[in-house]
């Protein structure tokens, strides 16, 4: 049965990836907003922001990458919601296939779609003058953190997709996630913020992630930010996974 579960997940993932290939607008839309923010901040606002040394695009790219993921997972919830609405979910659930194959196919598809969007955004950033001295190992570290963050947010989006009543509801949960990097060290140093805001910015997950990724790109020592970031990602991932599975079981039985 378990070998079938893997095979079924692969078949269902193939279905979702074919859908994305046929209408790649979701990936393009996911990449457009972060790219627009890159242009806005680098060419319009960035000149007035004091970050202390280095180019502004180098400073802001980590935050932009997290925004890319946050807007990408809105489509994960949307795709899942569509399947639940269209009746194809019930068709699959009444077939002798792995019970959670359907859910995993959405998770893997989310990962693939977000990686593609991230590659596009990094490509544009390189064209706009982003430079890093990070080694291959450093890049792998960044990729690993982004994948982990994607997975954590993907399971949140699964909860949203499973419990939404309307299409709008299915993707609305991502707005606060997209906004979160703005109240972090992503665009301006946190020490420029007033007390309570600064406290929030320094203690929310995005700041540690941004700091860790930025340190790797800049070739600086990463320090404790890495462990705080990993702790946040794994914590959110585990909680969201458990929550999603509980809702899924209730729905699927």
């Amino acid at each position: 049965m378990s070998s079938h579960a893997l095979q079924d997940t692969a078949v269902l993932t193939g279905r979702l990836l074919t859908r994305i290939r046929r209408s790649p607008d979701t990936i393009v839309t996911t990449a457009i907003m972060p790219i627009a923010l890159l242009l806005l901040f680098v060419y319009v606002l960035g000149g007035a922001i004091q970050t202390g040394g280095g180019t502004y695009i180098n400073y802001m790219l980590p935050g932009i990458l997290l925004i890319t993921i946050a807007s990408g997972i809105a489509y994960t919830a949307f795709r899942l919601f569509q399947d639940l609405q269209g009746g194809i979910f019930e068709r699959f659930q009444s077939m002798p296939i792995g019970r959670s194959a359907m859910l995993w196919s959405h998770v893997i598809t989310s990962l693939v779609a977000n990686v593609v969007s991230l590659v596009i955004v990094v490509g544009v950033a390189l064209l706009m003058g982003f430079r890093t001295g990070a080694s291959v190992l450093g890049w792998l570290g960044v990729a690993g953190m982004l994948v982990l963050f994607t997975l954590a947010l993907t399971w949140i989006s699964v909860i949203a997709g499973l419990s939404a009543k309307t299409v709008d509801g299915a993707s609305a949960f991502s707005y606060p996630l997209i906004f979160l990097p703005f109240v972090s060290s992503a665009f301006v140093p946190t020490n420029s913020m007033p007390g309570p805001v600064r406290w929030f910015a320094e203690h929310q997950p995005v700041t540690s992630l941004v700091n860790a990724i930025r340190a790797i790109f800049e070739g600086q020592p990463i320090g404790s930010d890495l462990w705080v970031a990993l702790g946040w990602c794994v914590g959110i991932l585990v909680l969201a996974y458990i929550g999603a599975m509980l809702i899924y079981r209730r729905r699927a039985s």
Binding site: H4, Q7, D8, V11, L12, R15, T18, R19, R22, S23, G86, G87, I88, E90, R91, F92, Q93, S94, M95, P96, I97, A252, S253
Partner: protein
């Protein structure tokens, strides 16, 4: 329950109840469906037909009672039931972005069959969808979608097929197409449990009919048995007028000149092709 088949039932339901919050949808349902027959579950909207289908196809769990499908218990052997059934839900459950052929290949792969491409081509031919098979299912007419949906249900030859309101929302021609497909299914030995709110559909297709009303089966038998429940027929003479359906079908019959009234137009309609559509 007097003429119900014993031991040879493909579907057997005993005392099934189901409530959603404080609303009691099924209040103790009993029925048997003989192997290889078409059984129609008739009821108005909200009678609980879909709920019963969902329980039998392992999508929902009953509050009380037992049900077996193909000799397997829907709760303790849900995986076994899923091996034996296929469900065509109320809304055509096809992937609109994939082509018709890709939809069929997808299901064949999920049933772990050898040669999914060949299976798909064979079913496309059988359901007059070979041409349309290359197009995205989202471009299909309602009748074509339903036919694709039913074709998807046949993959792997499940011995029991559930069809939940297979013709709701279809135009008369498409209904005839779907009816032909269902008859063909049963002719191949498949047990079909279908729900419908159309009386003529049950009359046309089913060997046995049960009426589900407010969570109870209030009548269950062959058409003749159900008719016998009412007082004997009085013979009256009424001039036979063509029904609007007959007129519609005659006027829209493909390849016919519209001026030729065709008295035999209420046939099966299975030869209908989407020739130039």
């Amino acid at each position: 329950m007097t003429t119900s088949p014993k031991g040879d039932a493909a579907i057997s339901v005993r005392g099934i109840t189901k409530s959603f919050k404080d609303q009691q949808v099924l209040r103790g349902v009993d029925l048997d469906v003989a192997r290889g027959s078409i059984f129609a579950l008739l009821g108005s909207n909200g009678a609980g037909k879909t709920t019963l289908i969902k329980i039998l196809s392992t999508l929902l769990r009953a509050d009380a009672g037992t049900a077996t499908v193909h000799g397997r218990d829907v709760v303790s052997d849900a995986a076994g039931v899923r091996q034996a059934i296929s469900l065509t839900g109320q809304f055509a459950a096809v992937d609109e972005v994939l082509t018709g052929r890709e939809n069929l290949v997808l299901v064949a792969k999920l049933r772990h069959l050898v040669g999914p491409g060949g299976i798909a081509d064979e079913l496309l031919a059988r359901f007059d969808l070979t041409e349309a098979g290359k197009r995205a299912a989202g471009t299909y007419s309602g009748g074509m979608r339903r036919r694709l949906d039913i074709a998807m249900s046949l993959i792997g030859h499940p011995p029991v097929v559930f069809l939940d309101e297979p013709t709701t929302g279809l135009d008369p021609e498409a209904r005839l197409e779907v009816w032909a497909a269902i008859k063909e299914l049963a002719a191949g030995g498949t047990t079909v449990l279908l729900t419908t709110q159309y009386l003529d559909e049950a009359e046309q297709l089913a060997q046995r009919i049960a009426i589900l009303h407010q969570g109870h089966i209030i009548a269950n038998g062959t058409l003749a048995e159900l008719k016998a429940l009412l007082p004997p027929v009085e013979v009256t003479y009424v001039e036979k007028q063509p029904s609007l359906e007959e007129i519609f079908l005659a006027m829209t019959a493909r390849g016919e000149a519209p001026t030729q009234p065709n008295p035999a137009a209420s046939g099966t309609g299975s030869e209908d092709q989407e020739a130039s559509a």
